[in-house]
Symmetry: C3
Subunit: 156 residues, 3 copies
């Protein structure tokens, strides 16, 4: 049986997402089974670029849904949006993979995406709002079953 790693991705910032996906792809390419459980702001990373406003979404849910993969902030020195742009530039300059590249690689390496059903409910997100790369919609019990079998568990 393969060694497992399970990551809870709670944060919606670009820098933390890059850290999570760098770990996930490195683990998967060295033959580990990797699952990422996306909850709360982490769901921003899974949103389709063309965000479909469904009828069921209230104004409050819309206010929480202003971010998607292409416009994530960073956790420090965001400089009102200048920070993420600078970071992307610097990553390109040092030939580092972008978040989009890492996410493509993650799917090629069969990293499993689980979207937290409870958070989706609160934020008014449905299957239609998220990328088709999501493997499963599930709750904390599913996460815990995987985490108990994992050698490495992280909350990011």
């Amino acid at each position: 049986m393969k060694d497992k790693m399970t990551i809870i991705l709670f944060s919606g910032e670009m820098d933390k997402a890059i850290a999570a996906f760098t770990l996930a792809t490195t683990a998967a390419s060295s033959d580990m089974d990797v699952s990422i459980f996306f909850t709360f702001w982490g769901l921003n990373i899974l949103k389709k670029k063309k965000f479909i406003i469904t009828k069921t979404q209230m104004l409050m849910q819309k206010m929480f849904n202003t971010m998607s993969t292409s416009s994530l902030p960073i956790s420090k020195m965001n400089y009102f949006g200048l920070g993420p742009w600078m970071m992307k530039k610097l990553m390109k300059k040092s030939n580092m993979a972008s978040l989009e590249d890492l996410m493509k690689l993650a799917k090629q390496l069969n990293v499993k995406y689980i979207a937290c059903t409870t958070s989706c409910g609160v934020l008014g997100l449905t299957k239609e709002n998220l990328t088709d790369d999501v493997n499963e919609f599930a709750g904390a019990a599913t996460y815990l079953a995987e985490a108990k079998e994992s050698k490495v568990n992280l909350f990011i």
Copy 2:
């Protein structure tokens, strides 16, 4: 012997606390032993609503002690306090348990609360300031002894 989970709750935000207590109560209700080690801002979650200002507290400690369970900020889109209010509304609308509900459930399921003595010292918090639900006041050594025996360890 039961499987164990140990969470360090360092953050004082409502959304992170909800994530921690959702995991804790889900684990405890599926027959795991769960301990939460509250440190730094995480101690805000344990504060009594009627916060007693003890004589030993200096002005600086008071400034760090302006938050309690009923007035926690959220880690993203706080909108100067509007964010937490909106989130509570949305949670109620989608029939999700509130932080207060989850904390009541946690106690019914015997989730163990450990308050970090060192952080209490720095922030000027005494037993009188915190809820009676605290099982133990202890330091990092106690946490590590539990973490070594745990299948799932998270820092939130």
Copy 3:
């Protein structure tokens, strides 16, 4: 064989660094093997006080490099720099070790420092910019090899 603990230190805040080093030194002094993997903003903690601006650093990298150990912010109630000063005062008053003390102790107890090569590349940091206490420059694969052997893994 000794029990192991591995910490990813991603955050560059004083309070989170203190939590990481309190855990690391407590573990190391109770005969555990401890490694800290410094990535992204966590590298701020390893910077030399006299920061050497190398020729290869661009303006953007300089903007990301305005913080070092002696001027770290805190994650809550930073009060534009007043927060860290108050916290240092309170820690001294309650006879708690400062971050600098904890870092000295960590080295005496052989806590291993690994600096993330990818993050160093993005932020334009070279060996000359970081303290000599760094044991190794390495990437996510090295971290994962250690994490798989560890009883306690945390992302801070």
